[in-house]
Symmetry: C2
Subunit: 142 residues, 2 copies
DNA sequence: GTCCATGCAAACGATTTGCATGCGT
DNA sequence: ACGCATGCAAATCGTTTGCATGGAC
């Protein structure tokens, strides 16, 4: 992708085929773990090293191109950094879905705590796809 | 603590001195990492094994007595499960502070995504203590 | 040509497992 | 007495590091 090429040129990072491939895979997947990046990238770069993935993930995070999503009961996933948004995580299939939340919060006594620079909101539950599937199973076993 | 004893009796977990000590340490600390639990508990149980800590953390999580806080740039911390609340994390000192958030959120198209059963909110920033300290440093170096 | 990136192997740290023994019930 | 809990050592897994070579600029 030309856009990633351009993105990288804004930074001190060189635009290598491996690096571009990682970005493309993350973009296409939306949210993806290190392992899954590795599995996918090996198809195009059979001799790539896991160490290369790790090093790139770190440098891309430092350059604010990638961000990490730490979730309960799963390995971390990574996404291309974009406009602030929140995440819905399906407890059944593990899928992470971006959501836009318009929220107003009143945090009592926040001034007693500190100054907020970033917010992260995670919603856990069951995604519609899994809910549909359990309906089918329930119905068919009756 | 008698209360933890009671709590454990509600479950299939036995009330052992090590388990009670872990709970006491977590309660006193508020939010604490595995390593720090280990360091503290060793004072009372010099021969305790890290494996014991891990096994207990897991079983206590399964019994809904402990919960894990996964935060950016830090090891996970654990807390006694209590009423729903949110967390403020200081990016400078790493401190985690419980906060109560009264929020109203309008999540557009959430019905298209799934059914939410749990919410987690993390606020990152600088705690007042660290802010005070940087003021002092700034002033004194002028 | 310079410097960063890659790939490999080794090192490292965190977590898990198996097993013999101990302890709570 | 039974069965889970503990402590130890080994195994395992995820991640990082050092270094020689290759590739981007």
């Amino acid at each position: 992708m030309e856009t990633f090429n351009f993105l990288l040129q804004q930074t001190s990072l060189k635009s290598t085929p491996q690096r571009l491939a990682i970005l493309k895979i993350v973009e296409e997947a939306g949210h993806i773990s290190i392992d899954d990046i590795y599995k996918k990238i090996k198809k195009g770069f059979p001799s790539i090293s896991l160490a290369t993935i790790y090093k790139n993930i770190h440098s891309l995070q430092k350059e604010n191109i990638l961000s990490e999503i730490k979730i309960q009961n799963q390995k971390s996933k990574f996404e291309i950094k974009k406009k602030p948004h929140s995440h819905f995580i399906c407890n059944r299939c593990g899928e992470v879905i971006d959501i836009d939340i318009k929220y107003r919060c009143e945090i009592e006594e926040l001034e007693k705590v500190g100054e907020v620079t970033e917010k992260e909101i995670y919603l856990y539950g069951i995604c519609n796809r899994c809910k549909e599937m359990s309906k089918i199973v329930t119905t068919s076993t009756k």
